[in-house]
């Protein structure tokens, strides 16, 4: 995905890109992705699927996260910020 495009994107647009990824890696076709969503609320969101999610998001948006970036994430809202920051 083009970096400029990501920078211009509204958060809702990014969420709509994340939704199919989350539904896939967390194996839940009805999962509703919101900015406040956390790992604790998704039973299948464990350390393994977390890795799958990170790699899939990196692939989708063409960005790379550092270990520190990943460790510090508290919820989806912070992931959105991180994606935008990495694209900048």
């Amino acid at each position: 995905m083009d970096k400029n495009e990501i920078i211009k994107m509204h958060k809702n647009q990014i969420v709509s890109h994340l939704t199919p990824i989350f539904r896939d890696v967390f194996n839940d076709d009805t999962l509703v992705v919101t900015e406040s969503l956390t790992a604790a609320e998704v039973p299948t969101w464990d350390s393994l699927s977390n890795i799958n999610m990170i790699v899939a998001v990196e692939k989708e948006f063409g960005v790379k996260f550092s270990i520190k970036d990943v460790r510090n994430l508290k919820n989806v809202g912070e992931l959105l910020e991180l994606i935008k920051r990495k694209a900048a």
Partner: protein
């Protein structure tokens, strides 16, 4: 193996793994994964790829970094799982850590290989399963730069030595196969193989996107070990083995040689010749006049493949699917062990349509890329290699030529005549004794008395004037069968007794028996014997020759215990049988 052609996408496979549709009749393989890295991602992908191949993979994942403990403890869950295959997957990161901590680098390679060898031995003491040992991926950082390998105790040198010595040990050890993870990593690019972040966060053995390649490679080894292997490569000619069309462009016009496309075709041919050396049978199916198709094989200076490398050569204008059916029937192997290489998408699709089991790889447009596109599919996995593999192609060629020649003849006598058979009827001699003794020990089906004389007994027969110990050798225009029959005749007063008669089943139905019995009666007549006698002594395996004497007009004169019977026929009453072979030597 066939599904290697589908894209091996990590996320697609992960998704597939969540809802595997496997028939309850699917073959099950039980795999234990022992590793010093995380195996969960790998296990998931292995299940999905196995399912694509119609196989249900039951996986046991050992405790993280618990390889030694699980193998050494006879009561571990590993043995309770009863695997068919155990994968020992070891990471370079962990090996590096051990090396950095090691007191004496000079003994480190010894210790590492010794440790693994010890684990293999301990495992074998408790399980019959096949061990699949990974190699170590060479680190991509070098403390010495290009000087690394000049220094015996550098990390790069020690890793290289360990991989080499593991390979040597594995050659010597039954039940241990290698999975060359370093090869996989190098093919991708070692710097691209590992994702250091993912290693640090999750101890994944490689980048997630490469997990499918690793999973496929491990499964390929297991599929090969369970017998799912390619046995024959069927080759198109025009624009596959050379550039251009031989029938149109002529011998000088086709592209085959030392540069450009010509060099690419030679490179492919050389790889195919290497496949033949490794025991894969080569066949040709070409839409061509036969005379045109064989011309480059016979006369082009740059052909790496020769006519004798090809076991079955079919050049005609028939449908290729029909021709491949003919080849399958001739070689008597499964369709799923055939690979068909053709540059023409139309032909590939016809074969896929009618023979869905045959493996039909896509070939790129540029012949320079043929070889790499085949290499990427790893179609030629095997779990064994022996001297017999080297010779297999030649044996099949002789047999296939006989079979194909057969199809052209409706009259079996014409066919037998066309074989140009030459037979040698010789007395036992010192040179042949080991082969004679071997044939006597091994022949079960066409063996009338099954007396199992040893080599010493055979040697004594050579000096016994009351005996005529004989061998038969057969050759035809397709090849030499060698020594194929043993007959021992005994002078017994007015009778000539057949004391032992056996023959290799490879030469049935060629009239060798008729030739033999004709000569026995001719010999009996010269001796002045009144009749020829013989016994049929039944065994569990020689039912085939129960009616042998009767078929030559012998009468049953006595019957013994367990179905044993004695037969006799007056010399004057014998009717000479027609034969289709030339006696080159007759020492009777």
């Amino acid at each position: 193996m066939k599904h290697a052609m589908l894209t091996l996408d990590y996320f697609a496979l992960s998704k597939e793994a969540k809802a595997l549709k496997i028939s309850s009749a699917a073959k099950v393989i039980r795999i234990a994964l022992l590793a010093d890295c995380a195996t969960q991602h790998l296990a998931t992908i292995m299940r999905a790829i196995a399912a694509r191949n119609g196989v249900q993979a039951e996986l046991y994942e050992g405790n993280y970094d618990g390889v030694d403990l699980e193998i050494l403890d006879p009561n571990s869950a590993l043995y309770a799982f009863a695997p068919q295959y155990v994968v020992i997957l070891l990471s370079s990161e962990k090996l590096k850590a051990r090396l950095y901590a090691s007191g004496d680098r000079r003994t480190f390679a010894d210790e590492t290989v010794g440790r693994l060898e010890n684990l293999w031995g301990a495992f074998r003491a408790h399980s019959q399963a096949t061990i699949i040992q990974s190699t170590f991926v060479l680190p991509s950082e070098r403390a010495f730069g290009n000087y690394e390998l000049k220094v015996a105790d550098s990390v790069g040198s020690i890793f290289t030595e360990i991989n080499y010595r593991l390979a040597v040990k594995a050659r010597e050890t039954k039940n241990v196969l290698l999975n060359d993870v370093d090869f996989l990593a190098a093919a991708i690019g070692r710097a691209q193989w590992l994702d250091a972040r993912m290693w640090n966060m999750a101890k994944t053995p490689c980048r997630l996107e490469h997990v499918p390649l690793l999973a496929q490679s491990l499964l390929d080894t297991m599929f090969a070990a369970s017998g799912l292997i390619v046995k024959c490569v069927v080759l198109d000619l025009d624009n596959t083995l050379w550039g251009g069309v031989i029938g149109d462009d002529g011998l000088e016009g086709i592209a085959l040689g030392e540069f450009d496309e010509g060099e690419a075709f030679v490179g492919l041919q050389k790889f195919i010749r290497e496949l033949k050396r490794r025991g894969i049978i080569l066949a040709v199916v070409s839409k061509n006049e036969h005379a045109n198709a064989v011309l480059p094989f016979r006369e082009h200076p740059h052909m790496a493949l020769k006519e004798e490398d090809i076991s079955v050569f079919v050049a005609n204008w028939d449908n290729k699917a029909d021709n491949i059916r003919l080849i399958q029937k001739t070689l008597n192997i499964g369709f799923d062990s055939l690979v068909f290489l053709d540059d023409n998408p139309f032909e590939r699709n016809i074969v896929r349509e009618f023979l869905p089991e045959v493996v039909v790889p896509e070939l790129p447009e540029d012949p320079s890329l043929y070889l790499q596109s085949l290499a990427d599919l790893n179609l030629f996995e095997t779990a064994s290699f022996s001297e017999a593999d080297v010779q297999r192609a030649d044996q099949y060629r002789e047999e296939a030529q006989r079979e194909l020649t057969k199809t052209h003849f409706t009259d079996i006598n014409d066919y037998l005549t066309s074989l140009g058979m030459e037979i040698r009827l010789e007395r036992f001699n010192a040179f042949n004794l080991p082969r004679i003794a071997q044939l006597i020990q091994r022949s079960n089906q066409f063996n009338l008395m099954t007396r199992r004389y040893g080599e010493a007994a055979c040697e004594a027969m050579m000096k016994d004037p009351s005996l005529a110990p004989l061998t038969l050798r057969l050759a035809d225009k397709f090849g030499d069968y060698g020594l194929i029959s043993v007959v021992i005749l005994k002078h017994a007063g007015e009778a000539l007794e057949i004391d032992e008669y056996l023959m290799s089943c490879r030469v049935l139905q060629r009239g060798v028996e008729s030739f033999t019995i004709n000569n026995i009666f001719a010999y009996a007549a010269r001796l002045g014997a009144k009749r020829v006698t013989g016994h049929y002594l039944p065994t569990a395996k020689n039912d085939m020759v129960k009616g042998f004497f009767k078929s030559f007009g012998f009468e049953k004169v006595a019957e013994g215990d367990g179905g044993a019977s004695k037969w006799a026929l007056a010399v004057d009453d014998y009717r000479v049988r027609e034969t289709f072979m030339t006696p080159v030597v007759n020492e009777l």
